[in-house]
């Protein structure tokens, strides 16, 4: 299959649902920190934070959403061209004893999340770490699962899943393409 699998309204609905699920699961917002994984996890984290703030006015969406760059923790650095290092921004108070929700666009092999867990370990000691993803396309290579999923999207390994967001790509959409093409997606 090739084409748009989620449009802008689908994405908006999915994020709203995830925001509610996060609040329900954590019984409030007191210790929540949303950390997006660059590139597209970061705007997603900010959107989720904004939605949480709509429900919980005491939640400061600017301070509680940040970015976690995992480049230096990847296990495939030697197999790729040199990657630019992204920015890591944390709440002013740090992450000790917080509940971190990692936010990423596409959940695939699990290696990115493994690197993110390593990165978090060097930044402090959170009370818990949870994972929210917009799309879970399967093909896990590590025993890692998501806590909050926007959409489960069965794919072939050879297919490519691209998430586009207004903040980075001028449009909200999730595309699937290229069965049989070489790229394995995000």
């Amino acid at each position: 299959m090739t084409g748009t699998v989620l449009g802008a309204p689908d994405i908006a609905r999915a994020l709203t649902r995830i925001a509610h699920e996060i609040l329900e699961r954590n019984e409030g917002h007191d210790s929540l920190v949303l950390l997006g994984i660059p590139t597209r996890g970061v705007p997603l984290a900010h959107r989720l934070a904004a939605r949480i703030a709509q429900v919980e006015p005491g939640f400061d969406p600017t301070d509680r959403a940040g970015a976690l760059d995992i480049t230096m923790y990847r296990d495939d650095l030697h197999r790729q061209p040199t990657r630019a290092i992204g920015e890591t921004t944390l709440p002013a108070e740090g992450i000790d004893d917080r509940t971190i929700v990692l936010v990423d666009d596409v959940f695939h092999t699990g290696r990115t999340i493994r690197a993110a867990l390593d990165a978090i370990k060097d930044l402090g000691r959170p009370r818990a770490v949870q994972l929210a993803v917009l799309v879970d396309r399967g093909h896990r290579e590590l025993p890692i699962r998501a806590d909050f999923v926007g959409k489960n999207l069965p794919t072939a390994k050879t297919e490519r899943v691209d998430v586009h967001l207004e903040e980075t790509d001028d449009a909200d959409e999730v595309l699937i393409s290229g069965a049989g093409s070489k790229g394995a997606g995000a």
Binding site: D69, M72, Y73, L77, H78, R79, Q80, P81, T82, R83, A84, I85, G86, E87, T88, D118, K121, D122, L123, G124
Partner: protein
């Protein structure tokens, strides 16, 4: 990037990438846990044909904080006694499986030779070659300047800023690397030195302002920063080969004291690559003033060297 040999051939894009990466590295160094797993399993050799404890430990700290294995290799030899040949040393390092070699050498061009001779495959970082270049020093200086003088520095260069470099331009590899890099990054360069300590032909250059006394330079330019170079006392005076008559005369014409420092705009910073000769090229008042970023240069040096090692070593070999 395959090697970091000089700043002449460093593109503006690569220079800014190094500075931006260094900024992220510097951020990691403010954490409690400063060690990153990035270069685990990689071997970095510090190959020093010349003693330089400061530079060596800076590179060593950088490599270790990225979890690389570090081997320190001090080779004997000088321009007078050849000692172990660079080639044999390189073959040894190749056999040891060095992924990167940080080389300090008394001979100009030694890093270049190591990188291009085919004696070894690893990445080469020039940590100072003769009187040629010391690129990571220039990068850490530029990083320090950018941090203090450019708002929201990520992705930016040093456009329109004016820096003076004062002292022994002729023999200084720091000046040799700083001048091209500052030009690449869009800064204005003012060189202040006695004519005896200027490289041949520099006065012909139209893209550099040259002054023969520090006072002239301070009168002529609104400086954003001033870099004082170390005077090699032993080399500079005495016999028929002295480049200036006495340390006292040098200090009178080129020394940065409090009065001269105050003639610069309030925001202007004071840099020195170290080690300083207090009372010769810089007074204690200037060196210890709030404008002095000399100590910060040292910590920025680690971040810039981490960035350089990361950019050379972290990518796949085939992509170079």
């Amino acid at each position: 990037m395959r090697h970091l040999l000089d700043t002449d051939t460093l593109s503006r894009e690569d220079a800014i990438l190094i500075l931006d990466t260094a900024a992220q590295m510097a951020a990691t160094q403010e954490r409690e846990m400063r060690k990153l797993p990035t270069l685990r399993g990689r071997t970095v050799v510090n190959l020093f044909f010349e003693d330089s404890t400061r530079t060596r430990i800076s590179f060593e700290a950088a490599a270790k904080r990225l979890s690389a294995d570090v081997i320190n290799f001090s080779a004997k030899g000088s321009s007078l006694s050849k000692g172990e040949s660079l080639k044999d040393t390189a073959l040894t390092l190749q056999a040891m499986g060095a992924d990167a070699v940080v080389v300090r050498h008394w001979a100009s061009g030694a890093a270049h030779r190591l990188a291009t001779s085919g004696w070894m495959h690893g990445h080469v970082l020039n940590a100072g070659d003769g009187t040629h270049q010391h690129p990571t020093q220039a990068l850490l200086d530029a990083f320090t300047m950018r941090r203090h003088l450019v708002s929201e520095p990520t992705g930016k260069a040093l456009e329109g800023l004016t820096f003076a470099i004062v002292g022994d331009i002729l023999h200084s590899r720091v000046a040799g690397s700083n001048i091209p890099l500052l030009k690449t990054l869009g800064a204005n360069v003012v060189v202040v030195a006695p004519p005896t300590l200027l490289p041949y032909g520099m006065t012909e250059r139209e893209d550099i302002a040259i002054h023969y006394t520090l006072d002239d330079a301070l009168d002529a330019h609104e400086l954003d920063g001033i870099m004082m170079l170390r005077v090699q006392r032993e080399r500079m005076t005495g016999g028929g080969s002295g480049f200036f008559p006495s340390p006292e005369e040098y200090t009178r014409l080129f020394g940065l004291d409090g009065d001269r420092m105050r003639r610069m705009p309030d925001h202007a910073i004071v840099l020195h690559p170290g080690p300083m000769n207090r009372g010769l090229e810089i007074s204690a008042e200037a060196a210890d003033s709030p404008r002095s970023v000399i100590v910060e240069q040292v910590s920025n040096g680690v971040a810039v060297r981490m960035a350089s090692l990361y950019l050379l070593l972290a990518g796949e070999e085939a992509a170079e």
